[in-house]
C-alpha cells in the first residue's frame, strides 16, 4: 500500500448524495481474479454512453480533469455493495483522497486498507472548500502530517482516527501487525471454545 504524506493535484466536485459502489465500479468490471484493469471501469456508465462515446458533460471527462487526484464528494459516498474494486479503481485512476461529509462503512474500511485517504469536513467547511474549488475543479493540497486541506488562500483542518492516520502514513501491512498477536488469539480461542462447546462443528446429516 502506497504511503500518504502530502499530495498536491486537481480536485473535482462530485456533490451527489448516495453515490453507490455499483456506480463507482459497475458489475462488468468485477469478473477478474486480480486487481488489475479497474481504472477503465471507474464511473464507467457516467464517463461513457451506451455506444462507448465519451460523455463530455461528466466532470472527469473535461480537460484537465483526466489528471484528477481528489474528489469532493457528497453524503454517504460509497454506499451499497462491499466490492473493494471501487476503491482499487479510484486508486488506479490516480485518485488519492476523497473529501466529503460522510462515507459508507465498508467503503471507508476498504479505503483505509488500500491507502485511499478519506477526509471528513463539517458542512460549513465543505461549502467553503466547494466554493474555492468551483464547479470546474482546481488544484489543492492535502497534507496528512499537518491534517490540512489547502486551496488558494483557504486552509482547513481535518480530523482523522489516529490509528488510521498512522497506517496511511506508514503504508503498513495490517496482517503482519495482527500476526504479532498470534499468542493472544490462540489463548482467546482456547478459553472461548471451552465455554461454548456447541460451536464445535456439528455432524452433517
Amino acid at each position: 500500500m502506497e504511503k500518504f504524506l502530502s499530495v498536491t493535484g486537481l480536485a473535482a466536485p462530485m456533490p451527489a448524495a448516495n453515490v453507490d459502489t455499483d456506480v463507482i465500479m459497475p458489475k462488468v468490471f468485477l469478473k477478474g481474479i486480480d486487481r488489475s484493469g479497474l481504472a477503465r471501469g471507474l464511473f464507467h456508465d457516467l464517463r461513457f454512453d451506451a455506444q462507448g462515446g465519451t460523455r463530455t458533460d461528466f466532470i472527469l471527462n473535461r480537460a484537465p480533469m483526466q489528471n484528477v487526484r481528489f474528489l469532493l464528494t457528497g453524503p454517504n459516498f460509497g454506499c451499497g455493495s462491499s466490492r473493494e474494486h471501487a476503491v482499487w479503481g479510484l486508486l488506479q485512476y490516480g485518485i488519492r483522497a476523497l473529501i466529503g461529509s460522510t462515507f459508507a462503512g465498508i467503503f471507508a474500511d476498504n479505503a483505509a486498507n488500500n491507502g485511499l485517504l478519506l477526509v471528513t469536513l463539517g458542512d460549513d467547511e465543505r461549502a467553503r472548500l466547494a466554493r474555492a474549488v468551483g464547479p470546474d475543479g482546481t488544484e489543492i493540497t492535502v497534507d496528512l502530517a499537518t491534517q490540512t486541506v489547502t486551496c488558494g488562500g483557504l486552509c482547513l483542518d481535518f480530523g482523522i482516527e489516529p490509528s488510521r492516520r498512522q497506517a496511511l502514513m506508514e503504508g503498513r501491512d495490517k496482517i503482519a501487525t495482527t500476526l504479532q498477536m498470534k499468542e493472544r488469539i490462540r489463548d482467546f480461542e482456547a478459553a472461548y471454545f471451552a465455554e461454548a462447546p456447541w460451536l464445535a462443528r456439528g455432524g452433517e446429516a
Binding site: G105, E161, I175, I185
Partner: protein, 476 residues
C-alpha cells in the same frame, strides 16, 4: 456491571484486545470472528494475497464457500456455467478451496444457493456469533442474534489469515416497532418504511436493534428480510434478540449442534438481549399499523412510497434532496404525480437474499394461483437456494409459478445484481423483490422498483405496479 446493549455484549465477548486507548463507539479493537462465508467474486484477490505472502488460513473449518454471484440460473444447470470470466472465477474459487482446505459448494452442489440463504438453512448461524463476510448483506444473520457485517477483500484476507478483523465499535440505535402489521403488509414493507423514514444513510455508523411486538410476531425468515435490508439505510449491523422461534428454526438442521448441545446453549442464548435499562445512542419508533405495501420510485432505496400514493414532485421535497430526486426521476422515466398503480412494467423478478426463501415463494404463489402474467411482461423467479427450490417443488409452488407464466430458474444472485446473463435491457422497467434500485444495478439503463415478493406477483399479473391487498382479499 453497567447495563449493556445486545450489540455491546456480543462485541465485548469477541474482543481479543483494544487497539487504542479509547472506549465506546469509534474505538478500535481486535475482534474474533466465528465464521465466514466466501463467494467467487469478492474472495479471489484475498487468496492471491495469501499466496503471495506465503500465508495460510488460520481456521479453515470456520469458512465455507458458495458460488452464487456469477453463475447462470438457466433451468438446465449442467450445460450452462456462465461466460469465460465467470468460469475463470469459479475455477479459481474451487482451486482456493482445495489448496487452503476450505469446503466449497460448487454450482452443481445440492446445497448451493445465495450465501445468506445457505448459511442459516444449514443451521450454521447461531445466536451470539460474530460473522464477517465479503458481502454487505451479511447483516442478515442479525435475525439470530448474531453480529453479521460485510467486509471488503483486504479484510477477507486478514480474516482468513488471523481469524480476526480490526474493528471499529459502532454506535447503537434501537428501532421500536409498535403494534401489528396490517393484513397484506410484510417484513419487506416494514424495512422499506424504516429506510424511507430515516434515509439511505440514516443508520450510518450504527448497529440497529429491532424490538417490539411486530418483530416478535414475525417468523425467522421475515426477520432475516428486515436485518438483510437494514443495510440500505446505512446500518452495518442489525440485530434482534433470539427467542424460541430462532431456537426451533436451528434445531435439526444439518450443521446445527446436537440436541444435547442445544440444551446447553439455550440458557446462554436466552441471555442475549439488551439489559432493560441499556442506553442506545439513538431511538427510532415505527407504528406497524400505519405501514402500507411499499414501492420505490427512484434510484436509492429510501426513494419510496406507499403503493396507493403517487410519484412525488421533487419541488415538494426538502431542498437538499431535490437535485437527487429530479435526477432519479429522469433516469426512471417517471413524471411527478403519476400514480404508482399506473406505472406499467416490462419485467418481474422474484429472487435475492432479501426475499427468495420458502415463505416468500409461498406468498407470491398465493397471488399467482388462478392468474396469468400480463401480456408483454417477462417474469422470473430464482429461489434463494437449491434447497429452497426443492422444498418449493415438493409443495407444488413451481407449478403455481410456471402455470402463471413465470420462468422457474435455478438459484443464485441472478438479477439482484445481474452479474450473470439475467439482466434488464436499457429502459426496461422491473418489479423486483431485491434490495437495491441503484442506477444500472439490474442492467445498464434498467429501471428497478423494489417491493415485496407478493407485490411483484401482483405487478406481474396486472402489468402495472399493483396493490397486493386488492388482489389478495380472498386468499388472506
Amino acid at each position: 456491571m453497567r447495563s449493556r446493549t445486545l450489540y455491546d455484549k456480543i462485541i465485548d465477548r469477541h474482543k481479543i484486545q483494544a487497539l487504542d486507548d479509547r472506549a465506546g463507539p469509534g474505538s478500535q479493537l481486535l475482534l474474533y470472528v466465528d465464521r465466514t462465508v466466501l463467494n467467487e467474486y469478492t474472495s479471489p484477490q484475498a487468496f492471491t494475497g495469501l499466496r503471495d505472502a506465503g500465508r495460510g488460513v488460520w481456521r479453515a473449518e470456520a469458512a465455507l464457500g458458495v458460488v452464487d454471484h456469477v453463475n447462470s440460473t438457466a433451468p438446465d444447470r449442467g450445460a450452462s456455467v456462465g461466460d469465460a470470466d465467470a468460469q475463470r472465477q469459479i475455477a479459481y474459487f474451487a482451486e482456493n478451496g482445495r489448496d487452503f482446505g476450505i469446503e466449497m459448494f460448487d454450482v452443481l452442489d445440492p446445497r448451493q444457493g445465495i450465501e445468506h440463504v445457505v448459511l442459516p438453512e444449514l443451521g450454521w448461524v447461531l445466536p451470539g456469533l460474530v460473522i464477517a463476510a465479503g458481502d454487505s448483506h451479511t447483516a442478515t444473520y442479525g435475525a439470530f442474534g448474531t453480529v453479521g457485517f460485510g467486509i471488503g477483500t483486504s479484510d477477507i484476507e486478514h480474516l482468513l489469515a488471523t481469524q480476526t478483523v480490526t474493528y471499529t465499535r459502532l454506535k447503537t440505535m434501537r428501532v421500536r416497532v409498535v403494534g401489528d402489521l396490517p393484513l397484506g403488509v410484510t417484513a419487506k414493507d416494514l424495512v422499506m418504511a424504516l429506510i424511507r423514514k430515516i434515509g439511505a444513510d440514516g443508520a450510518a455508523g450504527h448497529a440497529l436493534e429491532f424490538v417490539g411486538e411486530a418483530i416478535g410476531a414475525l417468523d425467522v425468515e421475515g426477520r432475516m428480510t428486515i436485518c438483510n435490508m437494514s443495510v440500505e439505510c446505512g446500518a452495518r449491523v442489525a440485530l434482534m434478540a433470539p427467542d424460541d422461534k430462532v431456537f426451533d428454526y436451528i434445531a435439526g438442521r444439518s450443521r446445527a449442534p446436537s440436541t444435547e448441545m442445544l440444551e446447553r446453549a439455550k440458557p446462554v442464548w436466552r441471555a442475549l438481549a439488551s439489559d432493560p435499562d441499556a442506553v442506545f445512542d439513538r431511538e427510532v419508533d415505527l407504528c406497524a399499523g400505519e405501514i402500507a405495501p411499499m414501492v420505490t420510485w427512484g434510484t436509492s432505496p429510501d426513494q419510496s412510497g406507499a403503493i396507493d400514493d403517487a410519484v412525488p414532485d421533487p419541488a415538494c421535497l426538502p431542498a437538499d434532496r431535490r437535485g437527487d430526486a429530479a435526477r432519479a426521476l429522469d433516469y426512471m422515466g417517471l413524471e411527478p404525480g403519476t400514480r404508482y398503480e399506473d406505472i406499467a412494467i416490462d419485467r418481474a423478478f422474484i429472487g435475492s437474499c432479501t426475499n427468495a426463501r420458502l415463505d416468500d415463494l409461498r406468498a407470491a404463489a398465493r397471488i399467482l394461483r388462478g392468474r396469468s402474467v400480463a401480456p408483454g411482461v417477462r417474469a422470473m423467479v430464482s429461489p434463494g437456494s437449491s434447497s429452497v427450490r426443492r422444498a418449493a417443488e415438493a409443495e407444488g409452488l413451481d407449478r403455481a409459478f410456471i402455470e402463471a407464466g413465470f420462468e422457474w430458474r435455478q438459484s443464485g444472485c441472478s438479477m439482484c445484481l445481474a452479474m450473470n446473463d439475467d439482466v434488464l435491457a436499457p429502459g426496461e422497467r422491473c418489479a423486483s423483490s431485491t434490495n437495491r434500485n441503484f442506477e444500472g444495478r439490474q442492467g445498464s439503463g434498467g429501471r428497478t422498483h423494489l417491493m415485496s415478493p407478493a407485490m411483484v406477483a401482483a405487478a406481474a399479473v396486472t402489468g402495472r405496479l399493483a396493490d397486493v391487498r386488492a388482489l389478495a382479499t380472498r386468499e388472506m
